[in-house]
Structures are given as C-alpha cells and as structure tokens.
C-alpha cells in the first residue's frame, strides 16, 4: 500500500520544495534590495547569483513535476490547473530575478531619501508573493484557507501600487534630469510587475479552487 502512495508522496514533496524555493527567492530579493540601497554591492551580487541559481532549480523542479504528473496520470481533473499554477508561479520568480538583475546591470541612482520608500515597495511586492505561495499551498491542502490568502495578496498588491505611485510622484517632483526620473520610475514599475504577476496567479487560483470543490 505504501508503494501505491509513494509516487504521490514524492511529488507532494517536490511541489512543497518548489514553493519553498519561491519563498526563498522572495527573501533573497528583499535582502538584495536592502544591500543595494545600503551600498553593499558585493553582498548584493552574491544574493543575485543565489537567486539565479534558485531560478534554475525552480525550472528543473517544475519540469520534473510536470513530467511526473503526466507520466503517472496523476490528478487528471486538476492537472491542467496545477500545471498552469506552476508555470505562472515560475514567471513570478523569473520576474523577481530579472528585476534584481536589471538593478545589477543598470545600477540606478536612487536618492537616499527615497530608500525607505523603495524598500517598502520591495517589501510589499514580496508580501504578495508570500501570500500567493500560502494560497497555493492551501489550494493543495486546505481549500477554505485559499480565500483568506488571496485576500491578503490583493491587499498587498494595492499597497504595492500605492507605494509605487508615491515613489514615482516623489521622483517626478524633484530636480533631476528627465532621463534619471524615467530610469527611477522604470525600477518602481518592475517591482510593481512582481506584485501584478502574483495577483494574476491568485486570479487563476480562485477559479481553480472553485473547480476543486466536490
């Protein structure tokens, strides 16, 4: 009997691991932003490298999970939804890594007084990702909790937008070159996209959850 459940348990562990990596990616992003704002560029670069490695690991895990789901014909009624969730979650991690990579490449000159605002922006964006992961875990285990976590994601998504707007207003109301202002706006926009991707995943999740009720 344990053999019968073995492949299910293995896959369950892999899905959990996949979302663990996603959570760690969010934490690395927050650390990376903090180090960048503090000017600790070496540590920032280390976090970026770790994040890139995690992204690759996440891709491998996702492919393995997808293959297992199809080859063992597991959860046939929810397989499409689960694969969709895995792929869209992967896009969130890609966006996180890409944003940090762009900072590393373009080295934006963020005025010191805007550091706390930008840090808050990153904090809220990653809070949406955390909420998204919790909602997805609930989708697998406890459907009643999905709604609560999706609501949290929506809240943090709005907070991210508000903070990004505040940051952009602050940028465009100071004496800087237009190119500099646009450059700074671009980085707020990228962080916003992380929250947006997480929100899209939750929208998909809400529909999948309705389908999962008996």
């Amino acid at each position: 009997m344990s053999l019968f459940f073995m492949k299910h348990k293995q896959l369950e562990a892999q899905i959990d691991e996949y979302y663990d990596v996603l959570i760690q990616g969010g934490l690395l992003f927050k650390q990376g932003i903090r180090f960048y704002l503090q000017g600790r560029l070496d540590e920032f670069e280390t976090r970026l490298q770790e994040l890139c490695a995690m992204e690759e690991k996440c891709d491998d895990l996702r492919r393995h999970i997808e293959t297992s789901l199809y080859s063992h014909t597991l959860i046939p009624e929810s397989r499409g939804d689960v694969l969709g969730l895995l792929e869209s979650s992967d896009k969130v991690l890609n966006r996180i890594a890409e944003t940090l990579m762009q900072i590393s490449v373009e080295i934006p000159d963020i005025p010191d007084d805007l550091d706390p605002l930008y840090s808050d922006l990153a904090e809220y964006a990653i809070a949406t990702v955390d909420g998204m992961v919790k909602a997805i875990r609930a989708y697998f285990r406890d459907l009643a909790m999905v709604r609560d976590n999706v609501n949290k994601v929506l809240f943090y998504r709005k907070e991210t937008n508000k903070t990004a707007e505040k940051y952009k207003r602050a940028v465009f109301r100071r004496e800087l070159r237009l190119s500099h202002k646009i450059h700074l706006r671009y980085f707020a926009y990228h962080v916003e996209l992380i929250a947006e991707e997480a929100e899209d995943v939750c929208d998909r999740l809400s529909i999948a959850t309705i389908k999962r009720y008996v």
């Binding site: 019968f4 369950e12 597991l74 046939p76 009624e77 406890d142 009643a144 008996v214």
Partner: protein
C-alpha cells in the same frame, strides 16, 4: 448439441461484459484514474467470484418468471436477448441486459402459452423504476457526505488523488462482484433448468455445484467481453450524461454497487426479515439503470446544470423499447426454431386430470399441480407438448435431459416451472 445451445448464453455474457463492465469501471478508466488493463483484470476476477458465489438469489426470481426448460428454448431466449442488446448498443444507448432477458422470457411465456407470474413480473418491472431511483438517492446522500468531509478535510490534493484511485479500485471490485452476483442470472439463468453440469466433489471439502459451473462459464464469457470490447465503452462513459470528476465517479460507482448488492444479497434480505422490515426482492437489476440513476442523482444535487436531459430522454425510451423488442424478437425466433428447425422450445408432459389429482393427493400437493417428468414417465406419459399446434411433439427428434427422480412431498407444486427447481435442489443437496 447442448454446448451449441449454450453458445447463445455465452454471446449474451460477452455483450454484458462489453457493456456493463463500463458501468463499473467506465468513469475510472475514462478519467484516466485507473488503467484499462487493471480495470479489466479486477472486473473479470470479481465478476467471476460474484457469479459463482452469489448468483443464486436473482436466478431463482428469473426462473420463477419463466422456467425455460428446453435447451432450444433457452438458446433462443438468450440469443434474442443478446441480439436485442447488440442492436440497442448500435444506437449508442446504455442498454439493459436485464430488460432484454426479461422481455425475452416473457416472449417465451407468450409463445409457449406458459403462464407469466405477473406478481414476479411486477416485482421485476418495479425494480426498473426503483433501482435508478434508489441509486440516485444513494448517490445524493453519498455526495452530501463526501462534500461535507472532503471540502473541509486537510488532505493534500495528491493524497486525495491516491485515496480516490484506491477507492475506485475497491468500489469497482465491489461493483464487479455485484454485477456478477446480480446479472449472471441474465446470462445463464435460462439455462439453469436444463444445465448440463453435475456436481463435483472437491476433495470432500466442498461441492462445486452444477449451477456454479454453469455460472462460471457465463462469468468467463463476461470476462472475455470485458477484455475484448469494453474499452471503447469505458473510455466514453461518464462524460456523456454529466461530466464526472474522479471523486464524483467514486460516488456514482459506489451508489451503483450498493444498489446491485442490495438486490442480490440474500444475507441482507434475511437480516431485514429478522428485523421485520420490508425487504427488497432478489431481482437482477440493470447495472446501466443503476449507474444512470446515480449519475443523474449527482447531477441534480449539483444544481442540475450540465445534465444532458435530451440524452436521458433517449435512454428512457430505450428502457421501454428493450423489453418489448426482446419479447417480440423471441416470439418470432421461437416460431422459426420450433417449426423450421424442428427443435422443441418447451418440455411439457401431460397426464389425465383424475390421475394427476390422485398422485398429487398422495404426495400432499395441490390437485392442479403439474407432475415431474419421472412420475409422468412412470405413468407412461412420454410425449412432448407442442404449444403452437396443441398436439403431442414427436419425441424422436428430442432427447430429454435426464432428471433425478425426486419429488418432494412437503413442497407444493403449482405449475410446471417449479418442477425444474427440484433437480437443482437435488444436485445441490
């Protein structure tokens, strides 16, 4: 010749396997939760077990409706039921083997002027209404139970998938056992009165009865039907009337299996009787009707949206047509078998009324009770009775099947069909 006659029963068994196994495992295989080979192996094994160890109860009801006592008659009845099933299957409707065989037996009764026990027929027809209704009610109750538990239970989706798979296999096995126990009467019931098998003593431990051997043969034909032709039905069933998820499939198959078992379980009947509760008749119910009732029950309790009512109407029409078509085909076919191929389709013996009354009085039976063949032979009555032409049959063309000389004094014999229970009882004893 006997083996040739049995071929029609085997054909009917094959069509039952091809069609009705899909009712048990169709949703599981169609939703890719269980592989076809796994489903076919489990279904075959449990159909055989159900038929051999639990097939007696429903058979008695069917033989009480009409004891087809001549091999050629049994052959024709089973063949026409099989042809009806095959014909209705061509119209892509979930056909009921039970209805086909009951219709065919009634057709035989009409042709041979045998009396139809309308009490038994009423019971059987009532189950055609009751079984889908009970199945729908079971499915609704199970749905509410599953919903209450599963929607709140913190089980991982993959674990739930594993449990559902295990459940589908277990319930499928249960359903297959029920199918074998309940529906073997459809396949081999008409041959019981003329069974060519005798009891086999298994090392003094137990006896493998002739009827069980007959049922084993029928069950093997069902198994062949499952392996050779049920895949297409399994692959398509479950998504036509109402799209089922694996959990809903589990509920539906469980409700269906419960219905098959309650209409086949002698133990349950005895238990209900001991509690002075009303009992359900041991009647071969249609697994197609049970599964459709269950699917409809789940569809209705989920709001009724997505139920294909047009198709349901077609299926209901099929349920009305099947017994009628089977009865008509059997009637016509019996005419040809008897008059073109010169095969007796009924075996009857007659003695003068006064003599019969005298013998019956000696044995403590009703004065109008028909005498068993042995007594008839002892009284010098050997002719076979031709029902259409109401004249003695030419016995030279027919070799009657040997019957043990037994005539129970305590049991009332009211008509010719009950006579043919005694040889079986004797063999089983």
């Amino acid at each position: 010749m006997i083996w040739f006659f049995l071929l029609s029963g085997l054909f009917l068994g094959w069509s039952l396997g091809a069609n009705d196994a899909a009712n048990v495992f169709g949703t599981a295989v169609g939703s890719r939760m269980v592989r076809f080979k796994t489903a076919a192996c489990i279904a075959s094994l449990f159909v055989i077990l159900g038929a051999v160890f639990g097939g007696h109860g429903t058979t008695k009801t069917l033989t009480a409706l009409g004891a087809v006592n001549a091999m050629a008659g049994s052959f024709t009845v089973a063949l026409m039921a099989g042809v009806t099933v095959a014909f209705m299957t061509r119209t892509n409707l979930p056909v009921s083997t039970t209805q086909a065989i009951v219709g065919a037996i009634v057709g035989w009764n009409f042709f041979t002027h045998s009396s139809t026990d309308y009490n038994i027929l009423g019971k059987i027809v009532a189950t055609w209404v009751m079984s889908p209704l009970i199945s729908a009610l079971f499915a609704m109750a199970l749905y509410l139970l599953f919903k209450k538990y599963l929607d709140k239970a913190p089980i991982h989706m993959l674990q739930r998938d594993a449990y559902t798979r295990a459940g589908l296999i277990v319930v499928g096995a249960l359903g297959s056992y029920g199918l074998g126990a309940n529906n073997i009467a459809n396949v081999m019931g008409v041959f019981v009165s003329a069974s060519p098998f005798s009891n086999i003593d298994l090392f003094g431990i137990t006896t493998f009865h002739g009827t069980q051997q007959l049922f084993l043969l029928g069950a093997l034909a069902i198994a062949v039907g499952i392996f050779t032709y049920s895949y297409r039905m399994m692959d398509t069933l479950g998504n036509v009337i109402f799209k089922l998820t694996p959990v809903l499939a589990l509920i539906v198959v469980l409700a269906h299996s419960m219905v098959l078992l309650i209409f086949a379980s002698k133990g349950l009947k005895v238990f209900m009787q001991s509690l002075h509760l009303p009992t359900l008749p041991l009647v071969p119910v249609s697994s197609s009707q049970a599964i459709i009732g269950a699917i409809l029950g789940v569809g209705i309790i989920k709001g009724g949206r997505g139920v294909n009512y047009k198709l349901l109407g077609k299926i209901a029409l099929g349920w009305i047509l099947t017994p009628v078509v089977a009865a008509a085909c059997t009637f016509v076919a019996l005419f040809f078998v008897q008059n073109v191929f010169e095969q007796p389709v009924i075996l009857k013996t007659t003695v003068p009324a006064e003599q019969r009354q005298e013998v019956n009085a000696e044995n403590g039976n009703s004065p109008t009770a028909t005498l068993p063949a042995e007594i008839n032979q002892a009284l010098g009555v050997k002719e076979m009775w031709s029902p259409i032409f109401h004249q003695p049959w030419d016995s030279s063309v027919y070799s009657p099947i040997s019957r043990p000389a037994v005539f129970p004094k305590t049991e009332s014999i009211t008509d010719n069909r009950q006579i043919h229970h005694h040889p079986l009882k004797k063999r089983e004893e």
